[in-house]
């Protein structure tokens, strides 16, 4: 199978996933108690006003028909109108997506920057005091709730020491790097703990592997051994882990974005759920599903690049 065919077959596999997710979310959202017409029309509305709202949302139609309409519109790229924002769902999501993307990439980069070198130190100083110290710090990272870490960072680094802004999103690229450092650190705190644990374990395994001992015996320079043999092999599982945790990372932004006032899709999801904004919840879920699928696909491709044994023949 050529690489192109492989890519196409993987893309085709995504289609049924989407369909299942769409049915699932459509039903799930409607199982939520509470009336979206009420959430939209304000508690003060009369029953007649509510009926008008229900009709305008198509909520008076039977569920299968509502689903058919939803499916038809979605396939033609129309995710409907947001009840809360009074704008097309796709426009709302697209205006909020860049902030989340920026924050997620920033967090992953920070997490790698933190976890990478520390994992090396930990692996090389395996079971010695330095390793134990690093591991215990990150055990704290793993077990601390995201909102709590966020609030502590805010109170100490922003409000008390005034090193960073308390919240907001910034306007230019560097301004954003500056504004988003605390939320990115908050998310990275947890992610780096996971990466560290995994990378440390695979580094220890690879460093002990026969092919590395063989390379040493051949007299290869430590730099070449590290980059060509150790790192490449140790990173395979880390890449998989990062790919798999992208869903986690995005759900982490739900809280981080609220605490740090970042106008991203995580906070949007929270607002949409509280307002029973069906079209927006559905649209957001679909977009999350697309992103996670793309990330999984990319993960697979990077994995095959790192590990030739996985390549399609």
């Amino acid at each position: 199978m050529s690489s192109l065919n492989y890519l196409l077959s993987r893309l085709l596999q995504i289609v049924p996933t989407f369909l299942i997710v769409m049915i699932f979310i459509f039903v799930l959202v409607r199982l939520l108690p509470g009336d979206p017409a009420l959430a939209m029309a304000d508690a003060k509305a009369t029953d007649a006003q509510l009926e008008i709202v229900r009709q305008s949302l198509g909520l008076d139609k039977p569920l299968p028909i509502q689903f058919a309409i939803f499916l038809r519109h979605t396939l033609s790229g129309d995710l409907g109108q947001s009840i809360l924002m009074k704008q097309p769902v796709l426009d709302v999501i697209m205006s909020r997506l860049p902030a989340t993307a920026f924050l997620t990439i920033y967090s992953v980069a920070l997490a790698m920057l933190i976890a990478g070198p520390l994992a090396f130190v930990s692996a090389i100083k395996h079971d010695r005091p330095a390793d134990l110290a690093i591991r215990s710090i990150f055990q704290v990272g793993l077990s601390s709730p995201v909102f709590y870490v966020g609030l502590v960072l805010l109170t100490v680094l922003a409000a008390k020491l005034r090193w960073f802004p308390v919240g907001g999103y910034g306007t230019s690229f560097f301004d954003r790097l500056y504004h988003l450092i605390l939320p990115a650190l908050t998310v990275a705190f947890y992610t780096s703990a996971i990466i560290l644990r995994n990378l440390r374990a695979s580094l220890i395994e690879v460093l002990d592997a026969e092919f590395v001992q063989f390379a040493r015996a051949k007299g290869l320079s430590p730099r070449i051994i590290l980059t060509r043999h150790v790192l490449r092999n140790a990173l395979i599982s880390t890449v998989t882990l990062l790919g798999l945790s992208i869903g986690n990372l995005m759900s982490g932004t739900l809280i981080t974005e609220t605490v740090f006032a970042v106008p991203g899709v995580g906070r949007l999801m929270l607002e949409a759920i509280f307002a029973r904004d069906y079209p927006l919840i559905q649209g957001l879920t679909l977009v999350f599903c697309v992103i996670v699928s793309i990330v999984f696909l990319l993960t697979d491709m990077v994995q095959t690049w790192l590990d030739p044994r996985l390549r399609p023949r």
Binding site: G34, D42, T46, L154, P165, G167, Y169, A261, R267
Partner: protein
């Protein structure tokens, strides 16, 4: 406020006395030297909001974050005074109600202009009011239900009415009757009124209020700039507003909003949780303001003879409802939930509402009376009552815990049911509840709205309680066309008496609007109706 520890006796006491004298002398000297705070024009302020505006248009604004911003961008014929009870001239410099109450004429100011410099005319008023009363457009059209026609002759606008409506004067000071530019609307892209309104809002609309919308990033920030053509003079004789610019930042998290204010990154933060008020009051850099509001917190009691599941409802008996009110120590709740910032309800409406009647808290705590009433009603000890609260609300959780403890002394076993907002509204509408938490803020500076909401059965079954009192309903209907202010006040007094005696609610408390501002900001107002008003605000440089 905690009392200062008293000074010790003897020598120490004299030293304290001397120090106090010295301090007083220094303070007096400073006062003599310092000039009175002089108003400063220009500059910018930043304001941290709890929620974003989605569409600030008089007719389509339907959520508080939209409604409360309308007066900054759009002006009304009349204004509501800062106390929430008085009506002042606005775009109309004078108005007259015909003796039969069937028409009202308004004389528009000659100097009123839109933000693009074009004059504001009678045509714009006719266009705006016709739009505001079109039931196909906004949810608030019913407020102008009495209006038959709106016409203009030069700068005189006449409203002809189908029947007298004493609330109309207040309604013409309400956001949905604000004046928009007919020409700007006609020129806006789109075919329907709603499309045009959205297009206008998206692109820096022409407006009639003290400010214009300059910039907006949905979910993040919004910038208002001074309308250079605004008519209303400030204290210095020159037109309002004093500020050149206001930047609104959206920060939904309470703790973050406060941190941002304390770090000096914003000049003001709204919706300060009451638990933080004392701390911010003690901050020397901040002014912790508690603006009087029409916000009331109450618990509707289901008064139907049976609950939704068919079981008999003990609260159908008025004595049980009164007993629950007596068994509730409201002062304690005010301390626990509002940290002392609130005050017990004295009527079905807040004390800042027009025609409010009642100067003492309803049903002061009296456990013995509660027990006697419950006994008379034949209520068994250990009767279970389900209290529906909002999941995740710290206030509701505190209230439940306190009530459970208070009512257990009267022999009632209070049980909790936690739901989210939409579910609670659903339960209220369908009558599927026993007693639940709720709140209200007036949108109109007239008692008709809140009274209709809480007590008039045909409207919403008296806030969902199912309470149906013919005398109250009749009085409400009569008062809605009563043009004699004295008679209307009497009708409202009687309605408030009936309501208090019948207790379809657990009367809880009123709370203020808590806004914390930097000491540099002066004269910002949040009205009792909730509107954020920046026209007279100014900031020291």
């Amino acid at each position: 406020m905690p009392q200062r520890p008293s000074a010790p006796f003897g020598k120490g006491r004299n030293i304290m006395k001397f120090r106090t004298l010295l301090a007083s002398a220094v303070a007096l000297g400073a006062l003599a030297v310092l000039p009175a705070q002089a108003l400063e024009r220009g500059g910018s302020m930043t304001f941290a909001r709890y929620d974003d505006s989605t569409l600030i248009d008089p007719v389509y604004a339907d959520r508080n974050p939209d409604i409360w911003m309308v007066p900054n961008l759009y002006d009304t014929l009349l204004h509501t005074g800062a106390d929430g009870k008085t009506i002042e001239p606005g775009l109309a410099e004078s108005h007259a109600v015909a003796p039969d109450g069937l028409s009202i004429t308004f004389k528009l100011r000659a100097d009123a202009k839109f933000s693009d410099g074009t004059p504001l005319t009678g045509d714009d008023v006719v266009f705006s009011l016709d739009r505001a009363r079109d039931p196909k457009l906004g949810p608030w059209a019913g407020l102008l239900g009495a209006v038959k026609t709106v016409s203009a002759d030069g700068n005189v606008v006449t409203l002809s009415l189908a029947h007298p409506d004493p609330a109309l004067i207040s309604i013409l000071a309400t956001f949905n009757t604000a004046i928009v530019s007919k020409a700007a609307f006609a020129a806006a892209p789109g075919t329907t009124d709603q499309e045009k309104a959205k297009a206008l809002f998206a692109k820096q609309p022409v407006s009639s209020g003290p400010f214009v919308l300059k910039e907006r990033q949905a979910g993040s920030r919004m910038v208002f700039e001074r309308n250079p053509y605004y008519w209303q003079p400030g204290e210095d004789g020159k037109p309002l507003p004093y500020l050149d610019r206001i930047e609104f930042l959206l920060i939904p998290d309470d703790a973050t909003r406060i941190l941002k204010l304390q770090a000096g990154e914003v000049d003001a933060a709204e919706f300060i949780p009451f638990s933080r008020v004392a701390e911010l009051k003690a901050d020397p850099n901040l002014d912790m303001e508690l603006f009087p509001s029409t916000r009331i917190i109450y618990a509707p009691i289901n008064t139907r003879s049976a609950f939704k599941d068919g079981t008999k409802n003990p609260m159908a008996d008025v004595r049980v409802r009164q007993a629950l009110n007596y068994a509730t120590n409201k002062d304690t709740l005010v301390k626990l939930v509002t940290f002392g910032t609130g005050q017990p309800m004295t009527s079905l409406m807040s004390a800042s509402t027009q025609l409010h009647y009642g100067d003492t808290p309803l049903y002061p705590y009296d456990l013995e009376k509660a027990k006697t009433l419950l006994k008379e009603a034949g209520l068994a000890q250990g009767t279970k009552i389900k209290f529906t609260t909002l999941a995740g609300s710290a206030d509701d959780a505190t209230m439940f815990t306190a009530l459970q403890q208070m009512w257990s002394q009267a022999g009632i076993d209070l049980q909790v049911e936690q739901v989210d907002g939409p579910t609670r509204s659903d339960k209220n509408r369908s009558g599927d509840f026993q007693i639940h938490t709720y709140g209200w803020v007036n949108d109109v500076n007239d008692p008709a709205q809140v009274t209709g909401w809480l007590g008039y059965y045909p409207l919403r079954q008296a806030v969902g309680t199912g309470w149906n009192n013919p005398e109250f309903n009749k009085l409400y209907e009569t008062s809605n066309t009563e043009i004699d202010p004295k008679k209307r006040a009497d009708e409202y007094k009687r309605m408030q008496e009936i309501y208090a005696a019948e207790a379809p609610l657990l009367f809880l408390y009123e709370t203020p609007f808590a806004v914390a501002l930097s000491k540099k900001v002066h004269d910002y107002v949040q009205t009792p109706l909730g509107a954020n008003e920046f026209a007279t605000a100014w900031r020291e440089k």
